[in-house]
């Protein structure tokens, strides 16, 4: 679809949210929670944190929540009765006020869950989510979106994108059919935009720090470079913070929970950073030490995914680095791979 440009007044944003809600669309948006910013259901614009660079966690939970029921069953004398769980049981939702890297992060999840037999738990929720992103007027030292093919005004993955073009006006880019549909809900608040408007003037300048093709090639060649991975990860303590806040990490676990008569199987976030992730019951572990697990993190995103799924598993949002308790900075580590590895 050809993109359409409109103008929306800041002062009309509360009305826009009201319209979504009154027409039955739940709205998910960033919300201040003490020092962190969560993505949560909101009832009005007041609670939405539009002033922050990025929410602490990514927006992936809109389609891939940390805990999700995939099976339900009851036990009786005759055996087990399964009560089908409908993967498509979710509402059309507006994901509002996220950043371009959140929106484009879904393309990694789309690839993983869509490949082969498709995972409808994710796909149908994603399909029913309309993403309204805000371009970034500022960035910080952790951001490196422009080095991985994105950018502060990148529209890939967004259905609508808002850019602040003056104190009281937002440029609205209608990018997809889904976006078009959502824009009809507040069409009366929109006015025509001057098509000559230069969006780049209003967004942050994020410097490219490395050449992606080269990082991918060098990462791909580095499986056996134990020294590199050890050097980079010596301070890594093997938690799940980086993977859990990451918009593209998709790894999961299943766990059953039941009382005497009924039970559920839950799908839970998991991370390649945990030592248990690959531990065989025999005690053997193919990724025994943290440097091997760090290698997996980087190689999965920058070697395996580009080759197998034709998508780089990183949007350069820098969340992992902000969340890391020991300041493992992925931008710095990728730059080091670019500089240190020769192929």
């Amino acid at each position: 679809m050809e993109k359409e440009l409109k103008i929306l007044k800041y002062s009309d944003l509360p009305k826009m949210i009201e319209k979504f809600i009154s027409q039955g669309y739940p709205v998910l948006a960033p919300v201040h929670k003490g020092k962190i910013v969560e993505i949560e259901y909101v009832q009005s614009l007041d609670s939405i944190a539009l002033d922050v660079l990025l929410s602490t966690q990514s927006a992936k939970k809109a389609a891939f929540p940390k805990v999700e029921k995939v099976l339900e069953y009851t036990m009786n004398k005759a055996g087990v009765v399964q009560h089908p769980v409908d993967p498509a049981d979710s509402k059309e939702t507006i994901l509002f006020g996220v950043r371009p890297c959140d929106a484009s992060g879904f393309k990694s999840l789309d690839a993983i869950f869509g490949e082969g037999p498709s995972d409808q738990f994710y796909l149908s929720k994603k399909e029913k989510t309309t993403i309204i992103s805000f371009s970034c007027p500022v960035a910080d030292e952790y951001c490196f979106c422009t080095s991985v093919g994105g950018g502060p005004g990148n529209t890939a993955g967004s259905d609508l994108q808002f850019t602040s073009v003056s104190k009281d006006e937002l440029l609205v880019e209608i990018l997809t059919e889904k976006g078009k549909k959502a824009s009809r809900i507040f069409a009366d608040l929109l006015t025509e935009a001057n098509s000559a408007i230069d969006k780049t003037k209003f967004i942050a300048d994020v410097k490219v720090v490395f050449d992606l093709d080269s990082v991918v090639a060098k990462t791909t060649a580095s499986f056996g470079n134990a020294e590199l991975w050890l050097e980079q990860s010596l301070r890594c303590i093997g938690c799940g913070a980086c993977a859990f806040v990451c918009p593209t990490c998709a790894c999961f676990d299943f766990q059953d929970e039941q009382d005497t008569k009924k039970g559920v199987r839950l799908r839970l976030w998991d991370s390649c950073g945990f030592s248990l992730f690959t531990l065989h019951t025999s005690g053997h572990n193919p990724r025994e030490v943290q440097s091997q697990r760090w290698r997996q993190r980087i190689m999965h995103k920058f070697a395996y995914m580009p080759e197998q799924l034709k998508v780089v598993g990183c949007e350069g949002c820098g969340r992992c680095s902000r969340a890391c308790p020991v300041d493992m900075n992925i931008k710095e580590h990728l730059t080091a791979i670019r500089e240190q590895v020769t192929v």
Partner: protein
């Protein structure tokens, strides 16, 4: 600072140690742990008032230990962690070279555990006044209010286990959380799973927590977890006259019966 650099250079050059665990400059204004393996890397060491992290946890990391003989820049918290770890047979006297960084920025070498113990009795091992205030607030709450407070905090938890990974005392080879026969703690990060995990962790740290605050600092979701374990410090002290991380040969208060133990809390 120059003293530190000179000292570490000498330690590495004369092979007293193979790696020195200290602080370096991190992203923007953050401080991070660095591992100095030769004298050319010594210049990367920094020491400022922001160097508050407890580095003792790295003394147990397999890949760090494999480098060889370890030296560490230990602040007060790290010293206490080391004493607690020693009392739990995780580190031995003489195994680690200890350079102590005092709050005033001076550095002292500690020759053995005994000298660390002697130093520790001279310092204030209590929690900060800010933390005291927060705990007082919690204790002033009704049980129901406190329950609501913690449930609200735990709601944010994503079970990334950064708190456990950051805690020098959470070194168990297989944490209770990871045991699945039986499954003591629900793995899921839902209400029950989060609550059970945090209560279990707090209980396992009762009498062992050295109030360094690493767990809360590590938490990406800004949950003040340290208050849970800190709340247990006072009762352990008054009931058993025990403070964690003061003596390398201490016996663990909660697993040792002494005839003069107070028993009034049982009934």
């Amino acid at each position: 600072m120059n003293d530190l650099i000179k000292k570490v250079t000498q330690l590495l050059d004369d092979k007293t140690i193979n790696v020195f665990i200290g602080y370096g400059q991190g992203t923007a204004s953050r401080i991070r742990t660095i591992f100095v393996k030769n004298s050319s890397q010594v210049e990367n060491l920094v020491y400022t008032s922001d160097c508050t992290a407890n580095l003792a946890g790295y003394l147990l990391k397999h890949e760090v230990k494999k480098i060889g003989k370890l030296g560490i820049l230990a602040n007060d918290s790290a010293l206490r962690s080391m004493m607690q770890l020693a009392s739990e047979f995780q580190i031995k006297d003489g195994e680690v070279y200890v350079l102590h960084a005092a709050k005033d920025g001076s550095f002292t070498e500690f020759a053995d555990f005994q000298s660390i113990e002697a130093y520790l009795v001279t310092i204030d091992t209590g929690i900060t006044s800010d933390e005291q205030e927060r705990i007082a607030k919690l204790e002033a709450m009704t049980v129901k209010e406190r329950w609501i407070f913690w449930n609200k905090e735990f709601e944010k938890c994503i079970k990334c286990y950064a708190c456990r990974a950051a805690c020098p005392m959470c070194y168990c080879h297989r944490c209770t959380t990871d045991v699945n026969q039986p499954q003591w703690i629900p793995v899921a990060s839902h209400e029950q799973g989060n609550l059970d995990y945090h209560l279990m962790r707090a209980m396992h740290l009762a009498g062992r927590c050295v109030n360094c605050g690493e767990c809360a600092n590590a938490c990406p979701m800004d949950i003040p977890l340290n208050l849970l374990t800190y709340q247990l410090i006072a009762p352990i002290r008054t009931t058993f006259d025990a403070t964690a991380g003061m003596k390398a040969d201490a016996v663990y208060a909660l697993s040792t019966f002494k005839p003069d133990d107070k028993e009034n809390f049982i009934i």
